[in-house]
């Protein structure tokens, strides 16, 4: 919008605003710039969507070719031999994510309550910072931590160690969402509980938590969606296993781990097929949880707990 490009010499008619006279000669250039940027954005958008579409397309095409309902309930075969399903991996994922959920939910809620409701000075800030810190740690490092702390101490890999690693990944997500939710409990509700002389635990248990339950559930569901897809923290905690075994004390497989191990052996057509099938199953589960979380959170926004 430079005024220097204004042509000189032509006298300005009296009464015509100077500004418009200044803009007119650059009008074409400005419009061209606008169109150029629009074109560039369209191109960028197309380029951004292209790889994403390709990932999904390949997953659907190759995955559906290799996938059948039987894949979900068939025990594994050898790594190089054909056939074999993901029963052990699905069992492992359900058990480990389930246990992780049981560990992370009370801890995450406790941290949120401690920070928001029982603001006990500096210690609360330390706890919160530590949990935030965990959120920033790469998941492979979380796996290493659990390896050093649990696997080396127990002397062997186990589903328990895997569950602990997943719990650590879920903890900050749950703590953070619950904290945000507790913060938006409407002031009027808080004042109401005070006016009724409710003790704090009663207010928390029967007013605050029920009010923001949907929001907290959203956090938990998103945390599950994240934990289900994690491979890196399981490699040296749960390790993987080629047997259908429900014992959390022993090495255990999980869907992402199963896909990873098959994907490393793409030289074998059978392993390659199993990797696609496991990938499709995994993405379906993760996206289902993710959509569920989003749906819940949209209900929160509409339901009015979010002022």
């Amino acid at each position: 919008m430079s005024a220097d490009s204004r042509p000189t010499g032509k006298p300005r008619p009296i009464g015509e605003p100077r500004r418009i006279a200044a803009l007119r000669p650059t009008q074409a250039g400005r419009r061209r710039a606008d169109r150029l940027v629009r074109g560039v954005c369209l191109l960028a958008g197309a380029l951004a969507v292209l790889p994403l579409v390709m990932v999904i397309a390949f997953l659907l095409v190759e995955g559906l070719r290799a996938w059948s309902p039987a894949f979900l309930v068939t025990p594994p075969a050898g790594l190089t031999s054909p056939g074999g399903g993901a029963l052990h991996a699905i069992l492992g994922t359900v058990e480990m994510v389930g246990l992780a959920l049981l560990i992370a939910t009370p801890l995450g809620l406790a941290v949120a309550l401690y920070v928001v409701e029982y603001r006990a000075g500096r210690l609360a800030i330390v706890v919160r910072t530590a949990v935030d810190l965990v959120a920033g740690i790469p998941s492979i490092v979380i796996g290493l931590f659990i390896y050093a702390l649990v696997v080396l101490t127990m002397g062997h890999f186990s589903g328990l160690a895997g569950a602990l690693a997943l719990a650590l990944i879920m903890l900050p997500i749950i703590a953070r969402t619950s904290e945000e939710m507790l913060k938006i409990v409407p002031r009027r509700l808080r004042e109401g509980t005070m006016a009724l002389a409710m003790p704090r635990w009663r207010a928390i248990a029967s007013v605050y938590l029920p009010t923001v339950a949907a929001g907290i559930t959203t956090g938990i569901v998103l945390a599950v969606s994240r934990a289900v897809g994690e491979t890196a923290p399981l490699i040296f905690t749960a390790l993987g296993s080629n047997f259908v075994q429900p014992d959390l004390g022993q090495p255990m497989s999980a869907l992402p781990l199963y896909m990873f191990q098959n994907a490393l052996n793409i030289g074998f057509p059978a392993a390659r097929e199993r990797a696609w099938a496991a990938g499709l199953t995994l993405v379906a589960i993760v996206l289902a949880f993710n959509l569920l979380g989003r749906w819940l959170s949209s209900r929160v926004a509409v339901g009015g707990t979010r002022q």
């Binding site: 960028a44 994403l52 050093a148 009663r202 897809g229 994907a263 993405v283």
Partner: protein, 333 residues
């Protein structure tokens, strides 16, 4: 109090008080139970975090009886069979691949965010935005497998063309090329962080006050001028926060990179050459680590990675708080 219940003059024990006192006490017990269990659980979480950090450092420490910590960071030679544990190839690879990822992803993500927020009709833009966000949830092992099956074969001719062209005379683009490379890892990472940068930038741009936007348009600004002078300055903090969040993801990404980087512990100037990153070497060598100090060296590399991502997170927090202070509270989490 009911009328006639109290006879004037009689000394009456305060009938209501003991009951109320009792009740209040039980209520307080409930409160202290919850308060203490919340505190205990929180401290448990804190203790777990501290214990992990300490335990990891302890497990890595035997390495430093055999070699200096400086060698781990600046040493070029990684060869467990001769007990040489130099980590520079991995640090270099991590920095190169994440820089490439930002280089590719940020312009595309900004363009896509602008397209969705400013140019497309809501009917098209909003579902497109949701679809892109959903892709941030796809597990990294899926991207990695897709990378090795689809992306790398596509890249091979392109890389050969680059290395064969006059550009190939420059060190960053010189051959020979194999397929798996820093470039391939950078591209996969770019695809993975694209949804993050797009989503965060969109949120930041959408938070621009409507009045400011309309004021610019009313002054005769074109759409681009509105974006350039109103939307982008307002959303700058959020966009930076998104970029740093994406950087921290890229630095820590393990599985996807492992599939496409070629796993060669070397420092190579050419982005078309294979390399290694910190997370991917930890993941791929850990299971087979049988040389003395090999496991310790990998754990120590994990500590280096932890410090790197910690630094990025601190930087992110500072950027966010600085912009929050300036822009008056755009939601830039």
């Amino acid at each position: 109090m009911q009328p006639g219940a109290v006879q004037p003059g009689a000394v009456q024990p305060p009938a209501a008080e003991p009951a109320a006192f009792l009740k209040r006490q039980t209520l307080q017990i409930g409160d202290s139970i919850l308060s203490w269990s919340v505190r205990l659980l929180s401290l448990l979480a804190l203790a777990a975090v501290v214990l992990m950090l300490v335990e990891t450092a302890v497990r890595a420490s035997p390495l430093f009886g055999a070699q200096s910590p400086l060698d781990l960071i600046f040493g070029l030679n990684w060869d467990p069979s001769t007990l040489a544990y130099g980590g520079l190839p991995f640090i270099y690879g991590t920095l190169v691949t994440s820089s490439l990822a930002l280089l590719f992803a940020v312009p595309l993500a900004l363009g896509a965010a602008l397209l969705i927020n400013e140019y497309l009709p809501r009917r098209v833009g909003v579902p497109l935005g949701h679809a892109i966000e959903l892709l941030a949830a796809v597990p990294s092992v899926v991207y990695g497998f897709w990378g090795v099956v689809v992306l790398v074969p596509l890249l091979v001719p392109a890389q050969q063309a680059i290395a064969g062209s006059p550009l190939g005379a420059l060190p960053p683009f010189s051959g020979p090329t194999y397929g798996p490379s820093y470039l391939a890892a950078g591209l996969i990472l770019a695809i993975m962080i694209l949804p993050i940068v797009t989503a965060v930038s969109r949120d930041a741009m959408a938070a621009t006050p409507r009045l400011q936007r309309e004021a610019a348009l009313a002054l005769g600004a074109t759409e681009w001028e509105t974006v350039r002078h109103v939307v982008l300055p307002f959303a700058r903090g959020g966009i930076f926060a998104g970029i740093i969040l994406a950087l921290s993801r890229a630095i820590g990404e393990t599985i996807a990179v492992l599939f496409v980087i070629g796993n060669q512990p070397q420092v190579n100037a050419s982005i078309l050459a294979p390399g290694y990153t910190l997370p991917s070497v930890i993941a791929s060598e850990f299971a087979e680590a049988n040389q003395p100090f090999h496991t310790e060296a990998l754990i120590a590399l994990g500590v280096v990675l932890f410090v790197m991502s910690f630094a990025v997170n601190i930087a992110a927090r500072r950027v966010v708080s600085r912009f929050e202070a300036r822009s008056g509270g755009a939601d830039v989490r």
